[in-house]
Amino acid sequence: MAEFSTSTKDAGDINVIYLNGYLDAHTAPVLENTFSDLIDKRKYSIVVNFKNLAYISSAGLGVFMAFIEKIRENSGDIKLADMSDKVYNIFDLLGFPLLYEIFKSEEDAIKKFNEIK
């Protein structure tokens, strides 16, 4: 069975979610819970680090769609970082770069959050 897990890092006002493994219809609820927990704690500035994500299907992409509006209503954002070309190509095919800022590195994404303040 495909494995997927997340871990988070509290970097002050900004929280980083690290994705690990295979994100599909089976494992998408794990990421939904991670987002829900952060939102419950009123953490709305979120960077998602894709470095260790091996696979994503549309069920995984849907998780980002499910939370983005609520987060932006609270003056936050989801910024995406450190994607493999394989994962980026799928985001690109579905037009996600129009809706989400995608950065080469986690540091760049965090920097962008800090610039706004």
Binding site: D24, S58, M65, L94
Partner: protein, 153 residues
């Protein structure tokens, strides 16, 4: 000359079949099955990734929509390779599906309406050479996906 070509192809996959229950934890089994067959045929790795994703999307749609997450439905995946064409046929016995009722996604609309489904069908059409649906109500639904060995990813 022709016969030696045929011989090489015969050594490769001709037909294979996998049946699993309609549970999302079986998606990884289906992906591995597709990965092994596509690798055996000799597709480049980026094409293999695309085929795996397209089949995952088709099966995810079957689990969520045809079987409405009922976990005891049957999904059968049949593989064929002939004339440099890899064909994947996926059969279920759930609710019939009318592909013509699914519009291409508009991401801005999805964003506004909180809609998170419907992207899978668009991916399948984008990633494969051919996507065909046949439903025989009360009997079966069949999705056919194909990819030619020599086309671009």
């Amino acid at each position: 000359m022709r016969s030696s070509n045929l011989k090489t192809e015969n050594k490769k996959l001709k037909e294979k079949e996998l049946s699993v229950k309609s549970k999302t934890n079986n998606l990884s089994i289906i992906r591995d099955f597709i990965c092994n067959a596509a690798t055996e045929i000799g597709f480049p790795s980026e094409v293999i990734d695309n085929i795996i994703l397209a089949v995952d999307e088709a099966c995810t749609n079957i689990i969520k929509h045809a079987y409405k997450s009922y976990p005891e439905g049957e999904i059968t995946v049949k593989l064929k390779y002939a004339d440099k064409k890899f064909t994947i046929i996926i059969i279920d016995h759930g609710t019939p599906f009318k592909p013509e009722t699914v519009p291409d996604p508009n991401l801005q609309t999805y964003y506004r309406q909180h809609r998170i489904g419907g992207l899978g069908m668009y991916l399948m059409k984008s990633l494969m050479d051919e996507v065909k649906y046949v439903s025989v109500p009360g009997k079966y639904n069949r999705v056919l996906l194909s990819k030619n060995l020599n086309t671009s990813p």
